[in-house]
Subunit: 371 residues, 2 copies
Amino acid sequence: MLNLRIPGPTPCPSPVLQAQTKPMINHRGKEFGEIITRVTAKLKELFQTQGDLLLLTASGTGAMETAVVNTLSPEDKVLALTNGVFGERFAQIAKIFGANVRRLDFPWGKAIDPAAVRAALASDVAIKAVLVVHNETSTGVTNDLETISAMVKEFEKLLLVDAISSIGAIALPVDSWRCDMVASAAQKGWMTPPGLAMVSVSHQAWEAIDQARMPRFYWDLTKAKNFLERAQTPWTPAVSTFYALDKALELMAQEGLSAIVARHERVGALTRKGVKELGLSLFAEEAFASNTVTAVAAPVGVEVGKLLRILREDYGVVLSGGQQSLEGKIFRIGHLGYIYEADIEEVLKALEKALTRVGFSGAKEARIPSA
Amino acid sequence: MLNLRIPGPTPCPSPVLQAQTKPMINHRGKEFGEIITRVTAKLKELFQTQGDLLLLTASGTGAMETAVVNTLSPEDKVLALTNGVFGERFAQIAKIFGANVRRLDFPWGKAIDPAAVRAALASDVAIKAVLVVHNETSTGVTNDLETISAMVKEFEKLLLVDAISSIGAIALPVDSWRCDMVASAAQKGWMTPPGLAMVSVSHQAWEAIDQARMPRFYWDLTKAKNFLERAQTPWTPAVSTFYALDKALELMAQEGLSAIVARHERVGALTRKGVKELGLSLFAEEAFASNTVTAVAAPVGVEVGKLLRILREDYGVVLSGGQQSLEGKIFRIGHLGYIYEADIEEVLKALEKALTRVGFSGAKEARIPSA
């Protein structure tokens, strides 16, 4: 079996995959009602929220669109913080639906500077909402969401968060960090196949939803909330994926959130240490390096496509390349969800061998012995 | 195991459920590329189209929204044909996204009258597109799409079709009937768990897409087509559901489309005959009664909720009630996808016993002996 180490879909434990084989049921019946009630309650615990938690049959991008179209009206001014592909995507969604998007761009690989966010908000009272990506999967940077939120809430703005590749693996206490909407997706930290996305909704977000006039039907959270009160979804849900998520959340509850977060911290640290020991450089500013995905700068002269192909075909290790302007310049190791130290040790061993084969001489020369 | 006879999710053959347990793979890799290429080709055969066929991670309503937002601009005039819940839904989506919706309403349980469609189109040159539901799941009526299409194409209008509960089970040759967009979803005739929706796109639809200005991001078909050229999807797809659909389409290819359609015709006829023999009345106009879902008028004095509960709890047969204004007035038997005569015989036997228990005296008295 391949060692799949991309930032999603992530590997699923066998009981999670097996859970999908249960027969179909009536999505308006009692049994599905019990599942959605249990899944919602468990997700609220892991989101650390007393607010609402709604599930959508979609991938994570659908949850980002949901956050935008439910809380905003055309012409609303939003501040979009960008430092990678997913920050760009969030800004683009808002723009397409008619928001007046003010961008605050940071270099890819660097973290968002909360002071700059504060300055932007101080200079423009018209801003209604701030869009931010917690964990920028494209660059391996985890933004300082807690501090950014403090800035946003000093000005009482709405805070919409893409936490697709963070929450459930990296600490994100939704209520104490006062995030109004937080989007995630099953195929990330949740160890579940893709097909379900989730959004948390604060009281302040519901107030915005009541006023918001962007068109929405499939993503309509008012409908989703009304149906959830009857333990249903407005549209036919991905039933098998619900079975899988239910099982995955049971496994996560057994481990406990703090143990899960600590495991991701250990695995993230091990990945960064190992990569540096091979003589490679991290792409992300290390103080903000993500514990769910590590972006590695491609060494001079190493063709990323060839390296990834050798890793996959000869060593069974599947990594991701860079996206958009980072294509060919970085590669990425996903380490979220169902991930342990041994998985990363296997990746590092394969990487060492594959690097030698693509002519990377720094692999041995620059290697610093492990402590 | 329950005999699940609702109009979706429909039961899945065991190999389809089992296919979901394959490990996750890179959705940007070769193996997923082979799957989406194969699934798309097989769907095009069953849609009988040389046009494009695109898959979305969503339920069927997402595919309806996709058809609207990709081909229309705000203020565009559309003619929405309605004779049930799903026709209403299609009209509502168009209205929410700013279309100028002219409605042509027909009584629920009756078929759409193509002559009335022709008259409406003749009287209003401003109409750009026609929205129609092929098989109205809420009432058990299959509209005469072939004739309606002839009317629509006489005026060269765009024809957007909800075929969610028909195509793959009821004949719908997309190209020869000149349907511009046809929406369906995995959990209907396709014998697959919910989580994937599909839309076919004609050449005329692409011309409309190029001009259309309704906002779209997740549903953007231009992106979907561009990614399909690389054998990918723009956003992370429901990988397990792709595994399942791949297997289900293999089974469908073994049976062959004409045999599948004939099986649904036999099962539909058996259902209607059996229901009438029990002394019950069909809700739908019989000449247009659907071969995938049968709506039965609730006999006077019979509480539908109680009847369905007895069927489910004591006989293991799961049927659906009526939706919206039909709640309590009808119940519905789904017979699409993985369905054979024996399944319906079991439903009819259970129904006979349960009807007696809820005090329906017509069950024996009105019974006409089987031929």
